[in-house]
Each structure stands twice: as C-alpha cells, then as structure tokens.
Point group: C2
Chain length 214, copies 2
Amino acid sequence: MDRIDVPSDVVIRRLPLYARSLRYLLDEGIHSVSSQELGERINVTAAQIRKDLSYFGEFGKQGIGYDVEKLLNHIERILGLTQRWPVVLIGVGYLGQAIARYDGFNNQGLHMVGLFDSDPAKIGQLVGELPILAYARLHDVIREQHVRLAIIAVPATYAQAVADMLIESGVRAILNYAPVILQTPDDVWVRYIDPVAVLHSMTYYLAREGGEIS
Amino acid sequence: MDRIDVPSDVVIRRLPLYARSLRYLLDEGIHSVSSQELGERINVTAAQIRKDLSYFGEFGKQGIGYDVEKLLNHIERILGLTQRWPVVLIGVGYLGQAIARYDGFNNQGLHMVGLFDSDPAKIGQLVGELPILAYARLHDVIREQHVRLAIIAVPATYAQAVADMLIESGVRAILNYAPVILQTPDDVWVRYIDPVAVLHSMTYYLAREGGEIS
DNA sequence: TAGATTGTTAATCGATTAACAATC
DNA sequence: TAGATTGTTAATCGATTAACAATC
C-alpha cells in the first residue's frame, strides 16, 4: 500500500504567502492568475507553486490558470483559516503593544483573546479593546477559550518559564519573539521571530561587499 | 583549479544563533562546549554545527570541544559584527517604536542612526535618544553615515516605494516587516519578518490535530 | 594511555526545477 | 483549431547526517 505523499513543512510555510498574494490580487480586481504571474509577484518559480498546490488537489485549468478567489478559498481552508483561532499574547511591553494593536493578528483566522503581563502596574490597562491580565488568569483563559496558539513577547530570561506554563495549560503552538530557543515537547509547534539574528546574517554579506574581505 | 567550497545561505543564517548561544554560555560562566552540548541548546545536530564551522576554519580541539569565548569571537568576526553597522528605520508606528527602543538593534554590531516617518505630526519627536526625521532627510543621512542596512516598518502599501528610495540612496540590505514581497535588484539583500504568515502556517497543523481532519 | 571529541568524507535524504503530455 | 498553461514525473541540485580517522 502506497503512503500518500505528505506536504513537507517548507511547503506549508509558503502557503500563507500564496494566500496573501491572492488577497492582494483580489483587491486589485484581478480574477485570474497563472502560476507564472503569481510566482513573479512573490519570487517563487511557477513550477514550485504548481508542485506545492498539487499536494492538496487540482485547482487550476490548463491553458487558463487559476481563479484567484477560488484558489484563495482553497488555501485558506487548507491552512485552517476558515476557523477563527483564539490567540493569547504574553508580555505587553512596546513590542507586545505593537502586536496587540496590529490587526493582522486579529483577522483572517486569528483572534486575540487575552493579553498578559507580569507587571502589576500594567494589570487592568486597556490595549485597544482588551485589558492586560495577570499571569494568575492565564490558565483559566486558555482553558475556557480553548486557546491553542500563543505569542511570547517577554524578555529572554522568562520565555522558557512562560512557554512551560502555556503548554501546561493546553497551548499547542507558540510564536516566540524572545531571543532564546525553547525546549518543548514534540507535539508542540514553536516558531521564532528573530530580527536581530536576521540582521546579523545580512552583515555577513555586507562585510564582504566591494571586495574588502575575500 | 578547485573552487573553494563556499558556505550557503542556510549556513550563514545559523551562525547568529550559534553566536547568541555562546554569549549566553559566557554569561553563565561556561568556558568550554562540545558541538553536542551546543547543539542540544539550540536544537541542531552536533554534526551540523561542526560542518557549518568547518567552512570557516578549525576552531575546536579534539577530545575537548570549543573555547566559548574564542569561538564567539571567531563567529562575530565572520559575521562582520566586530564593526558597527549604522541602521536606519523607516516607519515609526507602534512597531517602529518597539524596534527603535529594543536594544538588540543597538548592540552587537548594530547601531541605529536614523528614524524616519511620513507623518508630519511625528517629525521632531524623540524616541529614546533619536528624533524622528522627515523622508526629505533620508537620502542625506544614508549618504553621510554610509548606511547600508535599513529596516522597513511602514504599511504594506508604502513598502515598495520606501525600498526603492532606500536602494537609490545606497542601502544594500533591508529587513522588511511589511507584509509584501519587495522587488529589488540582485545585489540587494532582503529578508522578511512575517509573524502573521508564520502563525498561518501553524494553524495548518492545529487544524489537523486530534484527527478531526485527515 | 584511554576516553572524548573534532574535522571531514561519503552516503542519505529532501527540495527544486525542467520538461512534457494532457487538456482547457 | 492553435495557443496557453496545468499537473506530474524524472532529473538535478543542495542540505543533512552518519561514520570514522586524526588527535587532544
């Protein structure tokens, strides 16, 4: 019996980019795209787009391309974005505030349901519509709202302890902004936002430009 | 004549993680590590660390491992972090403020030299030590301070135009927080911080947990 | 010396791309 | 129909891992 060919994580990570580009196309009033055109917009080859989509079905028409709205709907369903996922945010410093206020986190399948901070002075303050809550409330909010997705925006030293609490309460996926690698069980998904590391990888190339260093 | 084996970009992207982990080790007073121990901290195999480092030289001792401080110094030199790179930030909304105030961007080789915004009401306001400047000043600041690194934190609709201005003025590497793929010349490095796309790739797995969807 | 761990090679594994028959 | 573009296979390319001689 053949195992079905399961899409790898690199494929899954590209799907949100396809979805976003399709949303922009729709905004522009464009109703049909070829893999070639879509690829040019997001710097991906046409073959890769077709291959990626082929893991999930046949969404195009030969000679024509893809119906933008239909393909978008397919991808959103594949990604689970037709549901609304409740999200909690831990750490409401400057970064946490920016996250809490950015509507990308309160849209298209995501839905911020709780902000938490350890600083007693912040408890009760509103950020947008939501009050900042104490960690004591974390467990109950996660349980009551069936939260499985969390964002960590606390200082590096607290990130692991926060992750442990979150997982203990039932969180299954974490987006971590703190500059530490988290140790978590195999059935928890962790991804990192690490702008400083990204900048540090670009200085490598800058340092070698213009032939100053071989 | 043999071509030297050049490290690929995946390798370069891991170096900052090695460097950071070594800094933490140093803070903890640990002066020696094996590739095994380092790997466990950052969830990378020992073989991969040794292979990555081998592109740049021989930094360890058989039977012993690596001297933490020495290896850190080597990696920082490789990444160009022994220089200080002037950075400009375009877009000083909530996110831009968080970036401007985070000292990870003002440390270890990076050094924020200019904040820019299009909103006349913001011009002149201080964020930390730095005043917010008008776009009209962008070109001169980039030229005068020899800026080659920029961070874009403007809304998606303006990001491409901002990138064009930056590149025109001499910027060679861009960290883009706006949710759009930028079209840039081949000799400009662009990297993306895209937390919403990352969350959207995790909902894929969440939607399939517990066997609700096959 | 015995034990540990590096640096490196070769084997494996996985991801991307080219190419084209199918077909709109 | 002729032209365009898909879905898919096979070939290529690249990255990771296993294994081990060298050596501290």
